[in-house]
Symmetry: D3
Subunit: 180 residues, 6 copies
Amino acid sequence: MRKNRGLFIGRFQPFHIGHLRALKWILSQEDEVIIAIGSSQFSHTIRNPFTVGERIEMIWRVLKEEKLLDKVIITSVPDTNGVHSIWVSMVLATCPSFDRVYTNDPLSRRLFREYNIIVKKIPFFEREKFTATLIREKIIRGEKWQHLVPKQVYEYILEINGDERLRELYGKKYDNYNPH
Amino acid sequence: MRKNRGLFIGRFQPFHIGHLRALKWILSQEDEVIIAIGSSQFSHTIRNPFTVGERIEMIWRVLKEEKLLDKVIITSVPDTNGVHSIWVSMVLATCPSFDRVYTNDPLSRRLFREYNIIVKKIPFFEREKFTATLIREKIIRGEKWQHLVPKQVYEYILEINGDERLRELYGKKYDNYNPH
Amino acid sequence: MRKNRGLFIGRFQPFHIGHLRALKWILSQEDEVIIAIGSSQFSHTIRNPFTVGERIEMIWRVLKEEKLLDKVIITSVPDTNGVHSIWVSMVLATCPSFDRVYTNDPLSRRLFREYNIIVKKIPFFEREKFTATLIREKIIRGEKWQHLVPKQVYEYILEINGDERLRELYGKKYDNYNPH
Amino acid sequence: MRKNRGLFIGRFQPFHIGHLRALKWILSQEDEVIIAIGSSQFSHTIRNPFTVGERIEMIWRVLKEEKLLDKVIITSVPDTNGVHSIWVSMVLATCPSFDRVYTNDPLSRRLFREYNIIVKKIPFFEREKFTATLIREKIIRGEKWQHLVPKQVYEYILEINGDERLRELYGKKYDNYNPH
Amino acid sequence: MRKNRGLFIGRFQPFHIGHLRALKWILSQEDEVIIAIGSSQFSHTIRNPFTVGERIEMIWRVLKEEKLLDKVIITSVPDTNGVHSIWVSMVLATCPSFDRVYTNDPLSRRLFREYNIIVKKIPFFEREKFTATLIREKIIRGEKWQHLVPKQVYEYILEINGDERLRELYGKKYDNYNPH
Amino acid sequence: MRKNRGLFIGRFQPFHIGHLRALKWILSQEDEVIIAIGSSQFSHTIRNPFTVGERIEMIWRVLKEEKLLDKVIITSVPDTNGVHSIWVSMVLATCPSFDRVYTNDPLSRRLFREYNIIVKKIPFFEREKFTATLIREKIIRGEKWQHLVPKQVYEYILEINGDERLRELYGKKYDNYNPH
């Protein structure tokens, strides 16, 4: 019998505990989940520090630890540089087939719905705490961030000196970090 | 302790029994393997019939059946349209890190070696029998091809009407198929 | 005898009464006009909500109503993502030939003049009232905008739920709209 | 009341009498037709000699003569360089909406059908006589081709020295023309 | 015997006296220098007013005057539109080989170091005075800037009306110039 | 007084004695020459084995030996992947200004003439002997080719193992080389 499948889209810069809880919640709704890593071509910026290869590795390590590899497929989707009209077809080509999309992003929601694809909202899990923007800021400022990501992600980022990369990209003294 | 990792590159149009045997052989040399699906942006041609999403799905189903999902990571790499000088950096960005590349393709071998990356040959397993070109030909001609791919791949291609797609793309009467 | 031809460039997001008056004024100077829809690849953003197909349709409906289809040709030109040095050649390749360009945009004016193409200014027609930016704002805020566009454009945008699209893309509550 | 609309796709290199007959036949099935000029970015080759601007102009002149401008909309669609999975979304973004596609090309037919878009065949009208390939060959060889295209197309190609362009691109002596 | 070679990267919009001093300083460290003109595809903006052809010419004229043409090679490297992971491979493909890179830009420094390429800092020479941003501002405002660039650059920019181009691109009255 | 300038375009895969003679002949017609290296983004194929950085280096070494660096400027121009209508504007943006183009290629000649740029033919110098295609064939076959290129080019290609690269790319036994 064909399984029910949800698509979970994000940039995962990095994959944090909010993402993991969202994934588990989607898995309570669906048999299998496709994790689509968006803006796959970008890396080495404050907003997108990690390559798609690095993001695949951090998610795969978490899935392995959580024993979810036989229910979750990892894929990647490039950003279309503002040519939004082709983005859904990019998702359809780069991902195994799915029944529903889970995302809270207004643009993505609109684009999928114009293709008659069902879109569902994801409940937020302590959103003020678990956002990738905040985690990147903490890394840059040298603050504690270990508790905000799965253990495997923390170890992996240290392993590839990802914290150092972010601080170097920021370039200036990080005691007066200002993202705007 | 850091695992040994090999990179296995191919277009996998489709993933066949020769690929599976090669994968198992590489796994006899390495702890973990990255499968990089090349020419990821192409589909719907005689030479590249399947989207990268479809190729990910067929390989994932095989890995699941073979209980290899915790040792093998699936990724995808676009073709760089003849700009070969950036291709290795594309591979490095789209794949988790690896120690060695396994490929018999002269261009890929050369490109990796110019980056000082170790390249190893893959032994062929009845190559006259297991080639994707031959399998696509058999599908177009309506000949038997079930025995040339893993069971999961066969079922999946039928499920998405992939055999019909290939025959339609070929366009002409397939009793006089000529790939040249 | 060869007709005199003007090129009228804009993004037409959407095509409004100011554009229509400008078109009629250019037609008082020239026998025929090419309407070139710029930034053709963009859509589904606050600044560029409509696809080029939608913009072609709205302009075509107005031209039909105004009985101008035998004097005006609609074409489209992509944005060149900052590679301004090739933009004029893009215009020349995507448009039927013309004698003069009508635009008030400093960059376009400069680029055409470096190709020795004659550029003319367009008189403004109540510019404080008829600007596409203002119309998009009014749509987002749920204010009255029907009087700012030709009847055919108004009906067409409602027909494709273009007003809803803009509001969804804006995402937030639109009673406190702030474009900056 | 919403009109019935067909999409007529082709490269129109150049637009010939077979195309005009096909257009009229489609208009016997539909209220309105979108003519989508494919491979719009290509020009100055033996296979694609004319720019999209030139092709728009030749078709517009014919439609004007035939008094079809209020039933037919001309648009253009780029070739996606082998990334076939996004091509239908390109068509949808660059064209006003339509109900059915008319094309005999196997790849296009397959791609539209995978999007659940209805595809119809076009009856051929003396196909051995009216093909763009044959017309380009005749122009290169200096043979008579005036009778194969609408009068407006013939005059236009001479006006822009399009026949000379084709012969120059071919480069060699055209008394021994061989397209292969 | 193989010469020691440094790579000197910049956008050179325009090439000024600070750049020339930096070049001479690098030549005190190396036998030969590759000047790589970055963001080569951009031109005709306030930030990138000059084409790469124009930048090559201004640098070549300076090198000729300074009798450095037999020690310095001029090349160009495109901006990769945020795909930073391929940028170093672009530099390696577009430039003759080199031993060390000289740049103070945090992103470039990080990217080269991840490729195990040695990166050195360039001492600043009156940086508050010699910055391309400041020179472009002065040109726009109509202030004196002749003393900030080599004589050949000044003459060349006037020759191509580059000062007028910048002012036209700025568009507004330049007595109240504000770059932000 | 403004110098007369010619543009000399080629792929220079590799730069050989026929190219050097052509350059000297053009210098007998003009004060200065721009050498534009075409198809700059391609490398690592039989037809385009060398990167643009390598081609710049080989030409620069020859110019240095010939004491021509103060009369000849080296630039590079990418291939536009069949979008020929923008190619001339690419040349104009990537090269310092010039008065005339020297090329025998029918497509380039046509494209420049459509921009009203003067195009001149280059006399052939023992063309049956000095063609890059023949030299690449000889390298692949392991035949003598030293006498066909300037000394600096020969040494440089050996220095970067360019001969080995070509043979590896060819892949098969080169005693039965067949380029078709």
